[in-house]
């Protein structure tokens, strides 16, 4: 079997549906300029020691990429409704290859969001050392793993009628609680809650852009545990989802 050809068309299919780009690309870019452009000279945003353009660049990148990852679920739910998932089950396509194609497609969409918001950030004066850029993008990509699994899991659990609200609401809530829209500070309930959410550590990749330092151990553990649990959930949801929809 030729995996690359399969993945190429899987991606082509996702990229041709422009609706998906509204929330993962258009929306974050628009909000970035609306919020950050008027305040581009704020250097220590809300006591975070991060400039406002950098903070929101990462905040809105995390929102857009989260949406891009979770939007896999919308595609899967519609494929299930079409009977396509059942059709794939009577081909030699392995579970591994199926997941890999979904994962790569979601990461390509996220990659586009990262690049465009980085360009937008640069235009508002965000300037980082090359090594810091690489470390920051690397952490963002790692922090997106739980969201990739979440998208696949939701796609196999939820029907096409309710997948929109589920993924949209889920992404918005996680973004809000993770500090996409404003810093969570260093104490209090929201801060404590954020500590155990993958979206918080996604947003915290901004610190890496500034200092080059990665996450503390807690960040790696939170991301690792969420990624593992949601991956198992995705596998379980895929396996039990054998019925005609």
């Amino acid at each position: 079997m030729n995996n690359l050809v399969y993945i190429r068309y899987e991606m082509l299919r996702a990229f041709r549906n422009r609706r998906f780009f509204f929330f993962s690309l258009g929306f974050p870019l628009l909000f970035y300029f609306v919020i950050a452009a008027p305040q581009r000279h704020v250097q220590n945003f809300a006591g975070s020691h991060i400039s406002l353009p950098l903070y929101y660049m990462v905040g809105l990148t995390s929102f857009g990429t989260m949406v891009a990852m979770i939007s896999t679920g919308t595609r899967i739910a519609s494929e299930r409704q079409l009977g396509w998932t059942r059709q794939l089950r009577i081909t030699p396509l392995s579970t591994r290859a199926y997941f890999r194609a979904k994962l790569i497609t979601a990461y390509m969409m996220s990659g586009l969001t990262i690049v465009l918001l980085a360009l937008a950030g640069s235009s508002l004066g965000v300037s980082l050392a090359a090594g810091h850029w690489i470390a920051m993008v690397g952490l963002i990509l790692i922090a997106l793993l739980p969201f990739a699994a979440l998208g696949i899991m939701l796609g196999h659990l939820i029907n096409v009628d309710s997948i929109g609200p589920a993924t949209g609401g889920g992404a918005s809530l996680l973004a809000f609680l993770g500090g996409t829209w404003f810093p969570l500070g260093s104490h209090g309930f929201l801060y404590q809650l954020g500590q155990v959410l993958p979206s918080y550590w996604l947003v915290q990749a901004a610190h890496t852009g500034l200092t080059g330092h990665g996450w503390p151990a807690r960040g790696w553990i939170v991301i690792g545990v969420w990624a593992a649990v949601l991956s198992l959930g995705a596998l379980y949801a895929f396996r039990r989802d054998t019925q005609r929809v």
Partner: protein, 323 residues
């Protein structure tokens, strides 16, 4: 995914083994109690045969096909495809199928979709070759969401054969097609079968089974009620019914008449399902000259199936049998 062990058939090497369904059964839960969709069927199909699975809606055809393909684990019995389990046969790229329900994924052209699916298989046919065989060249560049119902079915057929499978399974493939598309469709199917392929298709049209299969397996109420060459099955299900008004005959007396397969009474009206209506009408008038309001009609396929089943549960047939 339910994987059943292959049936070890003595003296048959895996390479020559065809399709075996042994004692296959499947029930579903429903609010009205269990529904026995398939009640223990045995079928052996040789390599290269084209077999029609004929039966009315609810006969258990789709359930049988889902088990054949490994999409549904059987409650009892086993499936063997060329000496392998369904999963092994599917993984080896030996099986192509067109399921009863299923639409095409969007945002790809017909050619792109075929190329994508061909890439999943170890030794697919060329995409151009398949486009030509299924008469899809003219719409190869069209996006899948812009196709008519008949065109969509042809693309689904193309997807089923692009892997160059040894076994082709089609579940009521012509449902959305007009007469001309049907004709074209069966031509493509026969051309593919002529390459020495094994084909199993489900249909509830007697004519389709008659014209396109070497052999017809007739199903009703989850059982096989007849299995033989199309001409034989056609003679059996292409039966006629005689309706008459007649007060002084019991159903068992009527059923015993020459040419009558079964008889039923509703008040004064009697209905005779005939194996030979010419013989039956003579016998009826000879024995019961008082019979009046006589009508002879070609039986609907459904009636003919029901008459043939002689099902012990037939007094209370469950109308909710899953497709």
């Amino acid at each position: 995914m339910g994987i059943v062990e292959p049936v070890a058939s003595a003296g048959t090497s895996p390479n020559n083994a065809g399709i075996r369904l042994d004692g296959l059964s499947k029930s579903f839960r429903s609010p009205d109690g269990p529904v026995h969709a398939v009640r223990g069927i045995d079928v052996a199909i040789e390599r290269g045969e084209t077999v029609a699975l004929l039966g009315p809606n609810g006969a258990g055809k789709s359930t049988t096909i889902d088990m054949l393909l490994g999409l549904l684990p059987p409650d009892g019995g086993a499936v063997s495809l060329f000496g392998r389990t369904p999963r092994q046969a599917v993984d080896a790229g030996l099986v192509g199928a067109m399921l009863q329900t299923g639409a095409l994924i969007q945002y790809l052209s017909v050619r792109e979709l075929l190329t994508m699916v061909a890439a999943i298989y170890p030794a697919p046919l060329g995409v151009d070759e398949v486009l030509e065989q299924t008469s899809l060249e003219a719409i190869a560049g069209r996006r899948t969401q812009k196709l008519s119902g008949g065109e969509t079915q042809r693309v689904r057929f193309a997807l089923a054969i692009v892997s160059n499978p040894d076994l082709l399974v089609l579940d009521e493939p012509t449902v959305a097609m007009d007469v001309e598309s049907r004709h074209e469709f069966w031509n493509s199917m026969r051309a593919f079968a002529a390459r020495g392929k094994t084909v199993v298709f489900a249909t509830h049209y007697l004519e389709e089974a008659d014209q396109n299969a070497d052999r017809v397996v007739l199903m009703a109420h989850g059982r096989i009620v007849a299995d033989g060459p199309p001409t034989e099955i056609k003679a059996r299900v292409g039966s006629r019914t005689i309706r008459a008004t007649l007060s002084d005959a019991t159903p068992s007396e009527l059923a015993a008449l020459a040419g009558v397969a079964s008889a039923d009474r509703h008040g004064e009206a009697v209905v005779l399902v005939c194996s030979d209506s010419d013989q039956a009408i003579r016998a009826l008038l000879e024995r019961f000259p008082a019979a009046r309001d006589i009508e002879i009609a070609g039986a609907g396929l459904e009636d003919a199936f029901l008459a043939l089943t002689a099902d012990p549960d037939a007094e209370a047939p469950n109308p909710a049998i899953a497709p």
